[in-house]
Symmetry: D2
Subunit: 356 residues, 4 copies
Amino acid sequence: MSASHTDAGDDAAYTASVVGGSGFTGGELLRLLYQHPEFDVVQATSRSKERKTVGHVHPNLREMDLRFTSPEDLESVDVLFAATPHGVSMEHVDEFRDAADTVVDLSADFRLDSEDQYDEWYDGHVCPEYLEKSEYALPEINRENLPGADLIASGGCNATATILGLKPLFDAGILEGDEQAVVDVKVGSSEGGAGGGDASSHPERSGIVRPYAPTGHRHEAEIEQFLGLSVSFTVHAVDMTRGASATCHLFPNAPVSKGDLWTAYREAYADEPFMRTVAGGGGVYRYPEPKAVAGTNFGEVGFEVDPGNRRLVVFSAIDNMMKGSAGQAVHAANVALGIEETAGLEFAGLHPVGAP
Amino acid sequence: MSASHTDAGDDAAYTASVVGGSGFTGGELLRLLYQHPEFDVVQATSRSKERKTVGHVHPNLREMDLRFTSPEDLESVDVLFAATPHGVSMEHVDEFRDAADTVVDLSADFRLDSEDQYDEWYDGHVCPEYLEKSEYALPEINRENLPGADLIASGGCNATATILGLKPLFDAGILEGDEQAVVDVKVGSSEGGAGGGDASSHPERSGIVRPYAPTGHRHEAEIEQFLGLSVSFTVHAVDMTRGASATCHLFPNAPVSKGDLWTAYREAYADEPFMRTVAGGGGVYRYPEPKAVAGTNFGEVGFEVDPGNRRLVVFSAIDNMMKGSAGQAVHAANVALGIEETAGLEFAGLHPVGAP
Amino acid sequence: MSASHTDAGDDAAYTASVVGGSGFTGGELLRLLYQHPEFDVVQATSRSKERKTVGHVHPNLREMDLRFTSPEDLESVDVLFAATPHGVSMEHVDEFRDAADTVVDLSADFRLDSEDQYDEWYDGHVCPEYLEKSEYALPEINRENLPGADLIASGGCNATATILGLKPLFDAGILEGDEQAVVDVKVGSSEGGAGGGDASSHPERSGIVRPYAPTGHRHEAEIEQFLGLSVSFTVHAVDMTRGASATCHLFPNAPVSKGDLWTAYREAYADEPFMRTVAGGGGVYRYPEPKAVAGTNFGEVGFEVDPGNRRLVVFSAIDNMMKGSAGQAVHAANVALGIEETAGLEFAGLHPVGAP
Amino acid sequence: MSASHTDAGDDAAYTASVVGGSGFTGGELLRLLYQHPEFDVVQATSRSKERKTVGHVHPNLREMDLRFTSPEDLESVDVLFAATPHGVSMEHVDEFRDAADTVVDLSADFRLDSEDQYDEWYDGHVCPEYLEKSEYALPEINRENLPGADLIASGGCNATATILGLKPLFDAGILEGDEQAVVDVKVGSSEGGAGGGDASSHPERSGIVRPYAPTGHRHEAEIEQFLGLSVSFTVHAVDMTRGASATCHLFPNAPVSKGDLWTAYREAYADEPFMRTVAGGGGVYRYPEPKAVAGTNFGEVGFEVDPGNRRLVVFSAIDNMMKGSAGQAVHAANVALGIEETAGLEFAGLHPVGAP
């Protein structure tokens, strides 16, 4: 095994740390930061894996020369990424901010704007003053507020897929917010995180189409916050590891044509480095598919019109670990720090790839 | 290899044949009839596999002592099952009826009631007079008309899943037919049939969530015919081989409680030998799942209420090859001939099972 | 949901119980016994699932009207099946024998013949006197000793696959016991049992080819005991739920032809109700495959000659939960009690089936 | 969709073309070259997909601004990569060499050194004079001959996995070439290439352990050529898309310790940028696994000693599309042209990843 050939090391402009580095999202952050030209990872914490190498847990990082440390002793860095379970970051946000100029949190703790909203969907916030101060990470909807931000909240994966699919329709006036909207989501097993219980064991989890959040999914809150649209949201677990696919069934107030839709999506995403519009055409991959973006920070959106039912169907696909989490976080950090937006996020994905 | 230990042979009450026996549905029919106590399979036809043994194509039937013959020379039998592509049966229905007292067709050729309906969704019917005469196979909605029927049309798999999920709500007056209804279906690769093209090859097909019928799926016609409900229907291919899962998002005109729903489903299905209601509770399998019924003729239905969105979510899961096709056909034949309904369909399914 | 239509109930000739009914093997036993014409299941024990219905854990058995009870209060039955972890049965064998005339144990506790053998591969036996008294379940190699047996030890799944593949070669004198023999096994995730740890979680376990027992697998002991052959044994976990496939690379002392092999396998298995020989020919399924026997009690064996390397390759495939465990146990009980051998084991399997 | 952010374009030092760009290997080459800092892809040919965009076939390359052209009109480039079926390159090698200074062929046409060898395993070569002139691509065994090479033959995937696993043992004198050696390989469905027949369709191909090359695999020839070892080789198809895993069962003439093995592998691979030795330790990933290297150019090797059987087990895992094909080709081109060896091949892989 040779010395790493991808670590920016001392040439990097910024130091970074990952709190909660042994989980799936933490591992994805480590992968991205390890190969990022502008970041040098100086610390990864994990209570359960303390003193183990990063590669012990994440076999793709066997070359990485770093061991997990206790989260008690945070090193001083430029950017701290927190990949901890919901509720942990708000308990430790002051420590995080003492340790770093910029904190990027991947949990749900700072995604919502107000304490009222938070209380409606989660249990009491311990530092609600940060709800208003934090910035939502998704650059496609919040790019202008990210430069210089010091507390950034990476969005929920299913909310991200939905928001990316629907935002162009609001911008174009095709949706107004009072429409009937059903969002039927299919997700992979990495959403359950490392560990998981009986339901996540391979014999029980493989080959399933399992309703795991039939109603009341908390990501409805983020969608409503950003789109002003109340969505009927249902999430199914299917047999893949990475990926979130949102099918949005919409009933616009006025008829809409495919041409209108192409215009709307082109206007919204023509200059976005990570968004693709895929809507019909020939070949095997005619609509958005999670496996077409697996491992990448790309999002795919597409649509079809169903005039007989006065329905518009919008498809959106992302890798939940990337555009839906760690990739979005790094993208936001790039924007916040003035780094090239696509830095460290260039991977194009694989073809063919199985159940990514 | 020993002589078969499951073939009823000369003890069987009825002779049967399968036209189109080398396809997936034909193979499933052969499996069911081979192990059925009242049927003796005397012929299986296949143009492409003529003279090959049944086990050459269907490895689960290696014990079966039968070779495919040409469809030109149909033997005289009590019941002929036709598992041919759409459009073939209507060309040959008179030959089929000459060869057998009872014909059970598994294609779409005789599912609809009128030529108008047929023409709306398919291309011109060559013998529309049979549309009215034929009986829809699904015993849960048409049991009373099956005894003595001589032309039976087995339902479409996705339509069957949807109808089984929603019928009890109409019977109970919870749905009336004018509601907004979105049906989001997830299906396995066997729906594509044996053969398949590039999109069905393993590297392209594995691990997918692929919108394959975003709008305009022909099964909408059957659903409308039997429920009087216009549904917004979208089908996705996911990574399993067998199974169809329908998630119905409904917006009833009046509020509905879980108690109302339990009552509705109990009244509809308490005496049905193949229907289970699964709605919540603990454990891993809380809602309908295709893999819980893989290989069986069972259908699972369940539901959840979403008061915030005034929505009702209904889940329905079947094995598309069984309850959605060959199992439904044999069930209907049992009813038509006065055989015990569950004969030949007792298999309970497997646990655990992977991607069935 | 209707009353069960497959439970033999009071018509059954024998009562049965399953100790350890909430595990995968216990569930498979319950499925087989529930649909068996000669058995009535009167008890299933599970400490962790006490008072839950059987269907709560095993969704394929939702119709079954039985709740798990504590293993402390064993009911008196004709046959007790023990599906407990290794080491448990030997602690409780006297209780088991008090409760039942016939005990069929599915653990490794009574598979070996002598205390010396046991100590070489496992840790000290608490009741070594039973090692000699117990009978190995596999009827293909021990049918003559099963009638009337009161303590039966069901074989290990990987050992069973190997023994079934190689036994005919010893009977025919093609192998003598001093040959170099490499056995490379591929198994599904159900071998890890319900529960499982991090390595069994879906994200870590899916898509793998993982050496999980590179050397020193305990099943070598059973193989040596029954064949007198020392095998170099390595087991890999691959992406399926059910199934064990053994590829045996053998170097016979004298050249052997395909004709010799066909003769050997025909002589060994022509009258065996559950054994198939599959060796070449056309079509997709030319050699033994686990998915061709998934859910069934069939075993497939096949072979190929490699003259250039003076090698003989033997393939053997079973469902580890069936022929490799619960199916073998029921088969042996059938023989022991004088029931039709194939009773309750007639299921032919499915085609197509995904990752079974 | 934005302009590509990864294409080196005019900044690249070398122009490149891919002949046979619509197949899986061709697509992988396009991905690697597209993101390679020193190559600019100016042409991709495909007879069947002429005039389609590259992204039409390879959805991961939807950003790539290139359409397939006919292979009749080859542009003049610095390096031409040929990803055509076996037998095509030797027919066109002079055209390829006219079009490019360096030709890298990914078929089997130029892997062997002599016409005799070729004729033993394949059918008559049309330009045997190139067999001796061409250089085998794998830098780990042929680095010194690559600089300046103008005809490079990328190795077979299964041969590559085997050679990488065993070469260190020859270098260290642990193996001498006269040992008994069984190599049991497990591969993914991408080895079958795009298209594929019935056996490759998802319903037939998923969940399998299928012996697809029981004996006589042509990669034996390459292994013998480079190691001087005759191997008993058997290949199984398993349920993954990418990946080749070789388990080598070896019987060294003298006893060997784990320490000897660590030394051998360390000496062989300590300075190799793409080789990892993984042999035991804790955690989930204790031995080489294809999914730990999916999408990357890494190879993992590991071992275990089985003293009871005087056996040495060596595990080797690669991505057949990368280290086993396109990645190896680009690596060799890097060496041939004096580019940084790891250029364009830095991707670290993903964790978790499903069936890659």
